[in-house]
């Protein structure tokens, strides 16, 4: 199989497979949560559960002052790599073209040099996050092999994307094949790992905020 053929396969059947696993997996995981249901709260409400839940979905993105002071690295690094991945994923011109092909929607891109810089910062931050996980006594204590796997699966698309853009090491089709393959690995593993938090945190924050909101507390 030539590099061109490999790329065709990666962009074709492999991508379709990864997409199916990703979509079905995510839907199943969300349904698994929802079918468990929860009991109706019979205590007279002081505030609105709905308003509290919706509020916390957004407000929990901003850390309280004490947490920011006590866990500065965690908070700041977390912000940087999440934003970095978001910007590179959705505002790099070739990605927008690809998403336009699939979904038919189009939005403006950010300058390529900017995305390139963002990618470098994101990679450095992800490496720092890994070092932190290994060296911080609480994080090391809590971490399981799946946490390191999730880190690797997140890091690889950023790294291969950077290599492909700069054409480092291999031929362009080969680099592109590796980049897309790494994204496919991420998609397939997504529903089975903590990467699911990207979807379920909306539910978690809602439930937490709603239960507090009923009591008149802003969680």
């Amino acid at each position: 199989m030539s590099a061109a053929e490999l790329l065709m396969w990666i962009r074709g059947p492999a991508l379709q497979f990864a997409t199916v696993v990703f979509v079905i997996g995510v839907v199943v995981r969300i349904l698994e949560i929802l079918v468990l249901g929860r009991k109706q709260d019979l205590a007279a409400a002081r505030g609105s559960a709905l308003a509290g839940g919706l509020r916390t979905i957004f407000s929990r993105s901003v850390p309280d002052r004490g947490t920011l002071q006590r866990s500065t690295f965690n908070v700041v690094a977390g912000y940087i790599f999440h934003f970095g991945i978001f910007l590179a994923l959705f505002f790099f011109a070739p990605h927008i073209l690809f998403l336009h092909d699939v979904f038919g929607v189009y939005w403006p891109s950010l300058p390529t040099q900017f995305i390139d810089a963002v990618t470098v910062v994101t990679m450095i931050t992800l490496l720092a996050v890994l070092l932190h996980r290994i060296s911080h006594k609480v994080m090391r204590y809590l971490s399981r092999s799946s946490d390191y796997l999730a880190w690797l699966l997140t890091f690889l698309p950023v790294l291969t994307g950077y290599l492909a853009f700069h054409r480092i090491g291999l031929t362009p089709p080969m680099l592109m094949a590796l980049h897309i393959a790494s994204v496919e690995l991420l998609m397939v593993a997504f529903p089975f790992t903590k990467l699911m938090h990207a979807f379920t945190l909306v539910m978690a924050r809602y439930y937490n905020g709603a239960m507090a909101g009923r009591k008149g507390v802003n969680a």
């Binding site: 199943v28 995981r29 698994e32 949560i33 929802l34 079918v35 468990l36 249901g37 929860r38 009991k39 709260d41 019979l42 205590a43 007279a44 002081r46 505030g47 916390t56 979905i57 929990r60 993105s61 850390p63 309280d64 002052r65 004490g66 947490t67 006590r70 866990s71 965690n74 908070v75 977390g78 911080h136 006594k137 609480v138 994080m139 090391r140 204590y141 809590l142 971490s143 399981r144 946490d147 089975f192 903590k194 699911m196 938090h197 379920t200 945190l201 539910m203 978690a204 924050r205 809602y206 439930y207 937490n208 905020g209 239960m211 507090a212 009591k215 008149g216 507390v217 802003n218 969680a219």
Partner: protein, 417 residues
């Protein structure tokens, strides 16, 4: 698998609902909850990381309620939760968690960890892994009506003392009163002046109230140990007394978990909404203040600060009322850092105060309160929970800090005109 372990695992399964599943699905092991927990910050031991305290419950969720986990279990690839593990987790779930809810406020993915610890205790208790101190307190609550074994004659004796001291009569079993006042055993035995303070304020404000000789205990050990049917029975006694005396409202006294027990868990435990209102004493006092029914003759001149009891503020929603009241009664009121819904627990909530085994640890983690107090150096510390008060006094003594601990209700009563 032993029968008790089986019952425990079954209870875990029963307790897992959509919020629990959403919480476990979302955890990224970032460890931020550790820094929100005084048991971690004051010991530096990662075993006290809040989310880690739930590990057995998480495994049951994963093995029973996720596709991947069920598959692994069917293939014999998963490790079932064992009795030895529950034994190991017992001190984490009971001795080093006060259900204070601070971790639930900082988790970036929004996990209400405290909600899950409360649920996990249901399984731990039936599996026979609850601490002895809580088991015996719960037994006393069921048989005598009070976790401290306080029976009505003891309350009667305290009422007589209070009546002699204040010259006021304390209403008992008055049918048709507006409010039924509940008390905690701690107040009856250690702080009976609370009863006198209420009597003074209510007399001046013209509040129609009563105590019940049948049901005066506000605390609920069933909630702390995590046995819902016992908790429900204790709530039902109050519901019955309220119905018998035909009161419109029940007053939850200066006790943190009693408020959670009757106000937020009560109707859910007995399975139907109450046909009376539940108010915390601070809510009622603030209402009276707003209506101009509390008239002061003097103000407190000492520099005061306020310790928010977790179950009243963060988990209860009574945050601004004590501040309104302190603004009224105190000339010099200062806030500690992180006061209000982010306040640090005293270290004795959630049954930790009743658990003798946890005595050393709860005094150790009191250092968190010490540093919070050192930031403002008050002349006196005001609070609204007799359980906090006992532990605050103990902790202050341990650390050689001469700061008196006052009840907010009593402070107001002392300055009435």
């Amino acid at each position: 698998m032993s029968a008790s372990l089986e019952r425990g695992i079954h209870a875990f399964k029963e307790q897992i609902d959509a919020p629990v599943a959403a919480f476990f699905s979302s955890c990224v092991r970032c460890g931020l909850c550790a820094e929100a927990c005084l048991f971690f910050t004051e010991t530096g031991d990662p075993v006290y990381t809040p989310i880690h305290k739930l590990e057995p419950l998480r495994r049951v969720w994963q093995q029973e309620y996720t596709f991947w986990g069920r598959t692994a279990k069917a293939l014999g690839l998963s490790r079932p939760v064992t009795d030895a593990e529950l034994n190991k987790w017992e001190p984490l779930v009971y001795d080093s968690c006060t259900l204070c809810g601070r971790c639930s406020m900082v988790c970036p993915v929004g996990n209400d960890i405290t909600y899950m610890i409360r649920k996990m205790r249901e399984g731990m208790a039936v599996a026979g892994h609850a601490p002895e101190g809580l088991v015996s307190a719960t037994r006393r609550a069921v048989t005598t009506g009070s976790p401290m074994g306080v029976k009505y004659p003891a309350l009667q004796a305290q009422i007589r003392n209070v009546e002699q001291e204040t010259g006021l009569s304390i209403p008992v079993d008055v049918t048709g009163a507006d409010y039924l006042l509940l008390l905690s055993s701690m107040e009856i035995m250690n702080f009976p002046e609370f009863i006198g303070a209420i009597a003074k304020i209510f007399r001046k404000a013209g509040v129609s109230w009563t105590l019940s000789s049948q049901s005066f205990e506000a605390t609920n050990s069933g909630i702390q140990i995590g046995v819902s049917d016992i908790a429900a029975e204790l709530v039902q006694r109050i519901v019955d007394a309220a119905a018998k005396l035909q009161v419109k409202s029940i007053i939850s006294p200066e006790c943190g978990h009693a408020y959670t027990a009757i106000r937020w868990e009560g109707p859910n435990l007995v399975g139907k909404p109450f046909d009376f209102k539940v108010v915390h004493i601070l809510e009622l006092l603030d209402e009276l203040r707003a209506q101009g029914r509390i008239k002061l003759g003097s103000k407190e001149t000492q520099k005061l600060t306020y310790h928010d009891p977790c179950q009243i503020a963060r988990r209860g929603g009574v945050v601004k009322q004590p501040r309104n009241l302190l603004d009224m009664v105190a000339e010099n009121f200062v806030e500690m850092p992180e006061a209000g819904t982010m306040n640090w627990c005293c270290g004795a909530g959630g049954g930790v105060g009743t658990n003798e085994r946890a005595a050393e640890l709860r005094l150790k983690v009191f250092r968190r309160k010490q540093s919070q107090l050192n930031a403002v150096k008050p002349d006196a510390l005001v609070s609204a929970c007799s359980n906090c008060r006992i532990h605050l006094e103990e902790g202050l003594e341990e650390y050689g800090m001469e700061i008196p601990v006052l009840s907010l209700t009593e402070t107001i009563a002392a300055h009435l005109e």
